[in-house]
């Protein structure tokens, strides 16, 4: 399956991926409102780590055998058999964050529920990739079972 892959040598640490992730997962879908005024503020599912010299944006790897799914105590976290996308059912999630405690990539964020990348379901390309000014983020199939 395709996932978002970061090329650290191209990342500028501009954090536009975070801005557009928040926008894509906001109520208003408006850059200004989503990033400044919405309450509760949307949570970015991608995070840029590192410094100005070396950085990379990290979001869910949509693992083959995801630890978060295995650890989920409510059955809210599932991996779709057809698409491979790992996602949270917000009606079932109780926000215990056991998923966060076991994700070895640091890809789950705390909100009222567990918050994570859904690859912008329904879009051809996730918002973070689409808006990366330097193509440091690509949407690719890295091969293997995934």
């Amino acid at each position: 399956m395709k996932i978002v892959y970061a090329k650290e040598e191209l990342c500028l640490n501009c954090r536009l991926c975070e801005v557009y992730c928040k926008t894509a997962h906001s109520k208003t879908k408006d850059v200004l409102k989503a990033n400044k005024y919405e309450n509760p503020a949307p949570v970015s599912r991608i995070t840029v780590y590192g410094d100005k010299m070396l950085s990379a944006a990290v979001n869910c790897r949509h693992c083959d055998n995801p630890k978060c799914v295995q650890a989920c105590i409510t059955g809210a976290m599932t991996k779709d058999r057809k698409t491979g996308v790992v996602s949270v059912n917000e009606d079932k999630c109780i926000g215990c964050m056991t998923c966060l405690a076991v994700c070895p990539f640091g890809c789950i964020k705390t909100g009222k529920f567990a918050v994570k990348c859904d690859l912008c379901q329904g879009e051809d390309e996730p918002a973070c990739v689409k808006n990366c000014p330097n193509r440091a983020l690509v949407y690719v199939d890295l091969g293997g079972a995934r």
Partner: protein, 420 residues
């Protein structure tokens, strides 16, 4: 092949699912004494406080079991295992097996107390049925007393505090949540719970007897001599592995059912056991422990299922990892949080309401306690699980962990999502 699984919670379901992955044709029967299809047991406190509806508690959709040919038999309390005939008895009904897995979970431990047994307003808090019974009885006039300030007792207390007039918690230990918190952090958590939940603690104390009118408890007397008015008593002192069936079948037990720590096989080659009913070897200190936690149960169940179906999955090693919240305070702990000995060292970072304590053994991380500081905690967990030599790391381990803790080649692997 006929597979029978006793118990339908975390371990039992994981076992059934793994068998189906590796054996497309075998018959899988899961026997549960409860009246419900597999549900989220930890959610019962969220159900009690009204944060989750019953239909959202089920771990899989009803159609899932038919689609995967996993037969779940509810109301099926196993009364015996015949190892010679290779059958499991549920009353008069007989279930033959080729491979059996016992995932019988925990049973409540109830210390001797005068005048409590059989009272209609004394409850344990372990399953959906008990949560429903409590929810039905509790109201704005209820003065509840919870015995035990472990995970179960504190979650019951939190749920009840949203419904009841008052909640008192008695705990024999001098601190709350002793299994997941160290002495220092438990003080802060206790203060938070007192403020947000208006829960009153009686630490170093416990209930010794109850006063009653007919079948109803009206008050309880504590060891210290205090008397608390009580309309509802929750017994949450602790749990023990449910080993009755295994013992009757003369399987080896040692507090929990003894299993091969890699394969989950018991002393009978055709019988496996997984989850809270077993005794694990903690990979971090080599000690035998009952690790009654969800993640451990799922991993063990999955390994047992694989082995039963002739597969190759083995357990890398057991350790504790737990995440929980109380009134918005997030607690995340892993590994040897109460490690004692010269080989261990620790460091605490504290600011405002956040607390981060990392526990080391030489150059390795062996445990953490994170309170409102759990961002990316799974990276710490992976350092513990992989026994990573910290001297090879690039970043500062006390900052929020990220992939930039690792050197370039490891980071590149992880960015690709490769096995960790």
């Amino acid at each position: 092949m006929k597979y029978v699984i006793i118990g339908a919670s975390a371990a039992g379901l994981a076992c059934a699912e793994q068998i189906r992955k590796e054996d497309k044709s075998g018959e899988i029967t899961v026997l549960t004494k409860e009246q419900y299809f597999p549900y989220s047991r930890p959610s019962i406190s969220y159900y009690l406080k009204g944060a989750v509806k019953e239909k959202e508690m089920y771990l899989r959709k009803p159609s899932y079991y038919a689609a995967n040919r996993i037969e779940i038999v509810t109301g099926a309390k196993v009364t015996g295992i015949d190892r010679t005939a290779k059958t499991v008895k549920v009353g008069r009904k007989i279930y033959p097996y080729d491979k059996l897995c016992i995932c019988s979970g925990s049973k409540p431990f109830i210390p001797p107390m005068k005048n409590v047994s059989g009272k209609e307003n004394a409850f344990t808090f372990l399953d959906l049925a008990s949560s429903k019974a409590i929810k039905e009885k509790a109201n704005g006039n209820t003065r509840a007393v919870v015995i035990g300030a472990g995970l179960i007792g504190m979650k019951a207390a939190e749920g009840l505090s949203k419904i009841c007039k008052s909640v008192d918690v008695a705990e024999l230990s001098p601190r709350i949540l002793p299994s997941i918190l160290d002495a220092k952090s438990s003080k802060g958590v206790k203060k938070h719970i007192e403020e947000k939940g208006h829960i009153k603690f009686h630490l170093g104390d416990t209930v010794t007897e109850a006063k009653s009118r007919g079948k109803k408890i009206t008050s309880v007397i504590l060891k210290s001599g205090k008397e608390l008015k009580c309309d509802m008593l929750i017994l949450a002192v602790g749990v023990r592995p449910e080993t009755d069936l295994a013992e009757k079948a003369e399987l080896e037990t040692d507090r929990g059912i003894t299993v091969n720590p890699e394969t989950m096989q018991t002393s009978d080659k055709d019988i496996y056991a997984a989850g809270d009913c077993t005794v694990s070897v903690d990979m971090l200190d080599g000690r035998k422990k009952v690790i009654a936690l969800w993640v451990n149960a799922v991993q063990q169940g999955s390994v047992a299922g694989s082995q039963m179906a002739g597969g190759k999955q083995t357990l890398g090693g057991a350790y504790s990892v737990n995440a929980i919240d109380f009134y918005g305070l997030r607690i995340c702990t892993c590994g040897l949080i109460n490690a004692e000995g010269e080989q261990y060292s620790d460091k605490v970072l504290q600011s405002g309401d956040s607390y981060k304590r990392l526990i080391f053994e030489g150059n390795r991380l062996v445990g953490f306690v994170l309170i409102n500081a759990s961002d990316n905690a799974g990276i710490y967990t992976s350092l513990i699980e992989n026994r990573t030599d910290l001297s090879g790391l690039e970043g500062n381990i006390f900052e929020t962990p990220s992939l930039f803790l690792f050197e370039k080649s490891v980071r590149a692997q992880r960015l690709k999502g490769e096995a960790v």
